[in-house]
Amino acid sequence: MAKDKLTGKARGINRRTILKGAAASVGLAAGSGAITGFPTIWAQNIKNITLRQFGTGVSNLNAIAEKCKQDTGITLQMTALDSDAVAQRAVTQPKSFDIADIEYWICKKVFPAGVMQPMDTKRIKNVDKIVPLFLNGKLKPDSAVAQGTAPHTVGFVEGKDSTKFAKSQTQWMTMIPTIYNADTLGIRPDLVGRPITSWKDIMDPKFKGKTSILNIPSIGIMDAAMICEAMGEIKYGDKGNMTRAEIDKTIAILTEAKKAGQFRAFWKTFDESVNLMASGEVVIQSMWSPAVTAVRAKGIPCVYQPLAEGYRAWGGGLGIAKHLSGLELDAAYEYINWYLSGWVGAYLNRQGYYSAVLETAKQYMSEDEWGFWMEGKPAKADILSPEGKLLEKAGAVRDGGSFEDRMGKVACWNAVMDEDRYMVQKWNEFIAA
């Protein structure tokens, strides 16, 4: 989703760490073998396997590949592309990847093309501990299911060879959720000059020429829908699956605002959004959480503002390519089990994302870190990024508060609409207007 800025510096690997890693991996693989019933003999060979993973930049992190090599012996070759390119490559070159690290709305496009294979949840150790949001769409048993392509709606298929999404939980998962977050508007608190409480504030004439939204149709239209709904102009049936009339009306409102000069620019990449904000070209805009961190890292105040109407959420996961089999397939399961076993979860949580299995991630985080990132408590000590860079000083509280406060207020998930083609056409008209 976002091009990652927080990638770790490559650490030198000496012979000793490799030996240690190899020893650990044999142990781990043997351990997992005992549980899942693989013959342990494969654990030796898995070390030599290379898995080609491609996906959006968010979780394609060198640090993860290094740690994976250390712990499991599996070599990960990572390629980071933007969301659209990932979807294209998955469909058009299904043999070019082993592991797809994609978002759920991309999965909705890609999985039916038959280029991926569902995963047997019996082989996923922590499957029961995955946040229920990904299993039944509800954070807590009494929560409402958010609009859009909610991950659980495309998270399961009916059988081993099926490409048809199942209505409820089955044994066959399309993707194992790995990373997700709740997105909102970013603001420059020093420049907006008034409290920002609603998505509609981006349309305030006071900010004329100082706002921006993102120009990725499938995501931009959702932000637009949040804005239009907050303005009270449109009441959507499902923001993630609009009717043609709803699309027309949304685009008309946007076009009018554009012609009136409300927007300074439309951004398409992570870096553009950081530059727009950091340079003061815009004071309120759609943003992704690491972009807010990147602006702050330059010493420029920036807040990821919680808004009354709730968040637009997105989630990604790991899926396995159709062509994997035998040892490689085992390695893929091994990798996914490792992914959910805690270290990666803690790493992602420390970047401000959320991991799918919270229980295991907690074991790898200090109490203070857990309190800051997950429980919305003031930090007792300075909060550092996984690479040791200072993110927040002691006493700071996370924008939007705790995990439940943020993920519990999801209004809509990133989505692919039935009227996708029409929406894109209309979106292009808006950009060209």
Binding site: A87, P112, A113, P217, A265, F266, S279, E281, E429
Partner: protein, 283 residues
């Protein structure tokens, strides 16, 4: 004698092969794909006209083409004036060969970096809190930062002119250097004034250079998408941007149909230029 009749064919074979493999085949592929159908994940071999129908019936297409043509026209005019002036200076005012070569090389120096870098470097310069606005504010020339400088048509055209003027300078300079100086002397001897020499001798003899430069500039601007996207802050559209949007959404057939139309249009424009100036005769 008869045995040698195949030799000319052999001689043209390498070039024919290169053109065939890298020009004709790709273009034919684009034309074929432009008639295919697609959905959100697949391209479906078929013969449908929907791609062209959707494209040609949309008011956005016309507006985008007009906007792109407008960019092309303005950029062409500006680069022509600047390019001609610079080339004229280099060819007729710089007397020493060494200086001529040196100045010419200086013109090309900025082109040693990537054109994306050259384009993006305008952004911090022109921004609301950029160098230019800071300087203007500091000097008391303006009270408010000038907003039109960045993310506007002005910015797009500025970047285009900056990027493409050299493509005008080089061929015009080349034409000017080939003008026989004795012609100019003869004109002066016959009593012509400076302007008359320019209009009656230099410009007509520079026509091939001007035509070649124009072809470069016009085709580059017509096909551009990245400059428009960055410098307009995503607020303006161009035909290239339309295609790039379609491609990024896997709508290859729609992009292909657009490419075919753009190609036809640009070929018509180039054809028109060739009608005005017979480049081959004058080279």
């Amino acid at each position: 004698m008869r045995t040698k009749s195949y030799i000319p064919y052999l001689q043209v074979a390498p070039l024919a092969f290169v053109f065939g493999a890298f020009l004709v085949v790709p273009i034919l592929t684009i034309i074929v794909v432009s008639f295919w159908d697609y959905d959100f994940a697949r391209i479906i071999p078929d013969f449908v006209l929907t791609n062209y129908q959707e494209l040609l019936s949309s008011p956005v297409t016309l507006r985008t083409y007009l906007n792109t043509l407008r960019y092309a026209a303005i950029v062409w005019a500006v680069t022509l004036v600047i390019g001609f002036t610079v080339a004229y200076f280099l060819a007729f005012h710089v007397r020493s060969d060494t200086w001529q070569t040196a100045c010419f090389l200086i013109c090309t120096v900025p082109f040693l970096t990537s054109n994306i870098i050259r384009m993006i470097s305008w952004i911090p310069f022109l921004g609301r809190n950029g160098l230019l606005n800071s300087a203007l504010l500091g000097a008391g020339i303006v009270n408010e930062p000038l907003e039109f400088l960045l993310f506007s048509d002005f910015a797009v055209i500025l970047a285009f002119v900056h990027l493409y003027t050299l493509f005008m300078i080089v061929p015009i300079f080349n034409s000017m250097m080939r003008i026989d100086r004795s012609l100019i002397e003869a004109a002066y001897d016959a009593g012509a004034r400076g302007l008359q020499v320019l209009v009656n001798i230099i410009i007509p003899l520079c026509k091939p250079g001007i035509a070649i430069g124009s072809i470069f500039v016009v085709t580059l601007v017509m096909g551009d998408f990245i400059t428009v996207r960055f410098m307009s802050g995503g607020q303006s559209a161009s035909v290239g941007l339309m295609m790039s949007n379609a491609i990024s959404l896997m709508q290859y057939p729609a992009a292909a149909a657009n490419a075919v139309i753009l190609l036809a249009l640009v070929l018509l424009m180039v054809g028109a230029m060739m009608r005005i100036v017979d480049i081959r005769r004058e080279l």
